[in-house]
Symmetry: C2
Subunit: 146 residues, 2 copies
DNA sequence: AATCTTACTTGCATAATGCAAGTGATAATT
DNA sequence: AATTATCACTTGCATTATGCAAGTAAGATT
């Protein structure tokens, strides 16, 4: 039930690595969720839900579940408010930063898109940009005692 | 009919560039098609169809149509065999090379995948790898008189 | 002329998605 | 203590996308 469909791990591992990436990320929402967690610091279901009115609540739940299965994010209960669940990027999830960056730069180069500020940050010094968000992530990891 | 659904260009342009990328590439097949054209040199419907038995013929036709709409690939009739259509990457399509590369490297780092040869090529000298496939593309462009 | 290839389209069944309306657990308010 | 609000979801149902088998039209091969 929780698996995507027919293709399971063994089949994913067989081909080019790109097949695995596409299986995990090749849909309308996963990368956007990851972006919002990585760049905007979103952590809760509610934040993700309100952000882009567009994703349906059941789909968000489903994508979060799958991202957890793939080890890209993890869910941890909020110590302050026990109703809440905080979703955080794992290292595997953080390692998607270069992918997101290249996708942003590609679209910015070929489409008329918004958020030029972010684009300039990325384009100016890509390595520094990546190092910065990585460092921020390391800090949150340290803060939560990992 | 040919448009994806509700979201049209104006809506795509509004947000973060990533939204545009995901709208164009966020599905199960588009990136795989682009990879096969970029790395394996596939040009015809038949080649793409036979490659991964998995994509349905109507879906392949649909994806090719959309990729053409987005300006990522172009279709040109084969001068030798007039039944044939050759699909070629546009510059915009070629510019996806860094995206594909990062996705491959990410999956290779975090999953057990095949095609280590390709991965090593990319990992060893990413810039050179990208320059090489770019140069190859430039040559095919020159060859077809563009 | 008959057959084969290539690039599709069509019809139909199944799966994924979107929307509205719940639900159950916890927290805040009165 | 009871009521209301918030949070993270599920469930049911309609719509849309996908997958498969079969068919088709234009052009090539024999």
């Amino acid at each position: 039930m929780s698996k995507t469909s027919g293709k399971s791990g063994s089949e994913r591992r067989s081909g080019c690595p790109l097949n695995a990436s596409v299986e995990m990320l090749g849909d309308r929402w996963s990368l956007l969720i990851i972006r919002d967690m990585m760049l905007r610091g979103f952590r809760s279901y509610k934040e993700l839900m309100e952000c882009y009115e567009g994703i349906a609540t059941n789909i968000l739940a489903d994508r979060l579940r799958k991202l957890i299965e793939y080890g890209i994010i993890a869910a941890e209960p909020d110590p302050q408010d026990r109703r809440k669940v905080n979703y955080v990027l794992t290292r595997k999830g953080m390692d998607l930063a270069p992918v997101l960056t290249e996708m942003v730069l590609w679209a910015a180069a070929h489409e008329e898109t918004g958020n030029q500020q972010l684009v300039e940050l990325m384009r100016g010094d890509k390595a520094k940009f990546l190092a910065d968000i990585r460092a921020r992530w390391e800090r949150t990891q340290a803060a939560s005692g990992k």
